[in-house]
């Protein structure tokens, strides 16, 4: 979980409350096929890559190192399905980074877009958080 939360902090670049990210990852690991193994492999590979860059672990690394590690998956960015080449990399060559990009980085950004991005835009809260009806007639902030 520490590696996933660190990835969320690095990729979003905001001081996020990790609680709902942790809940999101935990639920997916427990309920959706393949996620637990993927998350475990991600943590192991991210730690290994961070140590290769002189950090103690991925979670303990600087954001620059974390982004550098995650940047390995940059070609898969765009939320699109994996290309044949990327699938080959993942399935045949055993390169899991396109999968990490799709199922860790992109899904984290999608969660950020639904939640903390609203705070960054000046809103009082995001959809799903009870905000009450006392203040919505006033400008946020």
């Amino acid at each position: 979980m520490a590696a996933l939360i660190a990835a969320a902090g690095a990729v979003t670049g905001y001081a996020i409350d990790p609680a709902h990210y942790a809940e999101y990852y935990r639920w997916r690991a427990e309920h959706l096929r393949g996620y637990r193994v993927l998350y475990e492999r991600f943590a192991r590979d991210a730690d290994r890559a961070a140590r290769a860059r002189g950090a103690r672990s991925f979670a303990a690394a600087t954001r620059e190192i974390q982004l550098d590690v995650l940047g390995r998956a940059a070609p898969a960015r765009g939320g699109r399905p994996l290309t044949v080449w990327e699938r080959l990399r993942a399935d045949v060559a055993g390169d899991p980074w396109p999968l990490y990009e799709r199922f860790v980085v992109r899904e984290t950004l999608a969660l950020f877009a639904r939640t903390d991005a609203w705070i960054a835009l000046g809103y009082r809260g995001w959809p799903g958080v009870p905000k009450g009806l006392d203040r919505y007639r006033l400008a946020p902030g």
Binding site: V11, T12, G13, Y14, H20, E23, Y24, W27, R28, H31, L32, A74, R77, G78, G79, R80, R106, E107, L109, A110, L111, F112, A113, R114, D116, A117, W118, A120, L121, G122, Y123, R124, G125, W126, P127, G128, V129, P130, K131, G132, L133, Y136, R137, L138, A139, P140
Partner: protein, 520 residues
């Protein structure tokens, strides 16, 4: 077969309203729903959607249950506009709860288009009051000079205009356009045992039941001990014996055998498309114990026509800060040009919609994502919610394709008319007026071809005075068949420009009273 028994096809808001009234009055009620159970309050669905980003397959109908075919000018996925779950489509509705206006019931007499209803506003008005109490409607007419007369106040106070609506409303007022609050079936304060709205902003899966969902009353009907909800059970046809509806033929969606369910009264409340399909499947032309159908069954399918404009402003208006709809204008729901074109309701949506210029998928970091989203704070989506003209050629028939039981699906044909095109032009002109009045710096309006029904499907079993021009009478009783009723939006003669659900519930409560009186 117990005479005081009622079988209802469909567990949506119409079937639920009737079931609730009849079960409380001591009748035995069985509701048949082909979709799966749907928990209430919708907290599990809320968690799936908002916490886990998960589209739960448990809430989808079984394969081979939905699959209509479509021709004409409607290009959206009609199957996705119909929620086959316990509670029906109103498990997801926007909950805007408006009364039609008196002239909406007599467009032929007043404006020389469409047809008059066999019932007038004044006859329905007491049932509108009951429907508002049933749903728990929050609203006021104090700021809406276009509202029809009412004999009772709203059960709950209104959701006041939002921050952005207040700014735009003041600018519109300078140009003579009224923006007012939106009556809606969401609790501005606690109502009965429903809590007050807490502004989760997740209204289509409201986790606390502040927004009305039929499942609230389904549970109450079941709690009487006289109502049973049969989920995942499809109704294949209605059996008629010597001029009287005697039974339903039903089958579990995963079953292999039909069974007959006999009842004293049968009420079909499965939505305009499925109601027509069931009657057509039950036609005497297909079976000797079928329903003798008039020529209008399946015809006059009518949608509302929605088009949305994106208005861009210099300042942040913070759409989405409140989940509920707040500002709309009924100033044009009975406009001077009515008859040449249709009526229009204008509605500022509370949605925050990302600008179309860049996809969120382009963002590599949170900072990039926020920059893509930032212009959305300064936009408002304005919906033109338009009347359409009933047309006999817009229809539901039986398709070549068949469901998992071998029964033909519905085939929908829906073509736009010249009246609709003129209404679109009228709506477009109103968008221009609103954009100018509110000092929008940019406006984009959807093309005619993007027309959206708003999930408002009406007609197909319209009410009237006799079998030559209609399928049912004003109570929903099918002409020529005793003890068979078809209710809901399918009985509408014309749509007006306002959301149909409150009228559907008012008609349902009237039908329930009538059925109770008949059964004794």
């Amino acid at each position: 077969m117990p005479l005081r028994s009622v079988a209802i096809v469909g567990s949506g808001v119409v079937g639920t309203a009737i079931a609730c009234v009849l079960a409380r009055r001591g009748y035995r009620v069985d509701i048949f729903e082909k979709g799966p159970p749907y928990p209430y309050p919708h907290a599990p669905q809320f968690q799936d959607r908002f916490l886990h980003g998960y589209d739960n397959p448990a809430y989808r109908p079984a394969p081979g249950i939905q699959g209509l075919s479509l021709t004409g000018d409607y290009h959206r996925d009609l199957d996705s506009e119909r929620y086959s779950v316990a509670g029906g489509s109103a498990t997801h509705w926007g909950a805007i709860a408006l009364r039609m206006r008196p002239p909406d019931f007599r467009t032929r007499s007043a404006y020389r288009y469409g047809d008059d209803w066999p019932i007038a506003y004044d006859e329905l008005e007491p049932y509108y009051c009951r429907a508002e109490a049933f749903l728990g409607v929050s609203g006021t007419d104090a700021d809406n000079p276009f509202a029809p007369r009412r004999s009772r106040p709203y059960p709950l106070p209104p959701f006041e205009l939002s921050y952005g609506d207040r700014i735009l409303g003041a600018r519109l007022a300078e140009r003579g356009i009224t923006l007012h609050t939106t009556p809606q079936a969401a609790t501005r304060r606690a109502y009965r045992d429903r809590p007050g709205c807490q502004n989760f902003g997740a209204c289509d899966v409201c986790p606390i039941g502040a927004r009305y969902s039929p499942n609230y009353d389904l549970a109450r009907a079941i709690a009487t001990g006289r109502c049973t909800l049969h989920t995942a059970t499809a109704v294949r046809r209605v059996v008629v014996d010597r001029g009287r509806a005697r039974a339903l033929v039903v089958r579990a969606v995963d079953g292999t055998a039909d069974r007959e369910h006999a009842a004293g009264v049968i009420i079909v409340a499965g939505g305009a498309i499925e109601n027509a399909r069931l009657l057509l499947l039950s036609s005497r032309e297909r079976a000797p114990d079928g329903v003798p159908l008039g020529e209008t069954v399946g015809r006059y399918l009518t949608f509302h026509h929605l088009w949305t404009a994106r208005l861009r402003y210099a300042e942040a208006l913070y759409p989405g800060d409140v989940g509920r709809f707040t500002g709309q204008s009924h100033q044009f729901i009975d406009p001077p040009g009515r008859g040449r074109h249709g009526a229009v309701k204008l509605e500022f949506s509370s949605n925050i919609v990302p600008p179309p210029e860049r996809s969120l998928d382009e963002a590599a970091t949170g900072a990039e994502l926020v920059e893509i989203l930032r212009p959305a704070r300064s936009q408002r989506m304005l919906t033109v919610h338009a009347e359409s003209v009933p047309d006999a050629h817009r229809s539901v028939t039986l398709s070549e394709a068949r469901d998992r039981f071998g029964d033909p699906y519905a085939h929908v044909h829906y073509a736009l008319t010249d009246f609709d095109r003129r209404t679109y032009a009228f709506g477009r002109s109103l968008v221009g007026r609103v954009a100018a009045a509110t000092r929008a710096e940019g406006e984009e309006f959807e093309p005619l071809e993007s027309v959206y029904s708003g999930c408002h499907h009406m007609g197909t079993c319209r009410m009237g005075r006799g079998p030559r021009d209609s399928a049912v009478d004003s109570f929903g009783a099918v002409h020529g068949v005793r003890d068979l009723f078809v209710t809901g939006g399918s009985a509408f003669v014309s749509p007006g420009a306002v959301n149909p659900t409150l009228t559907m519930v008012a008609l349902a409560l009237r039908t329930a009273d009538y059925v109770a009186e008949r059964l004794g």
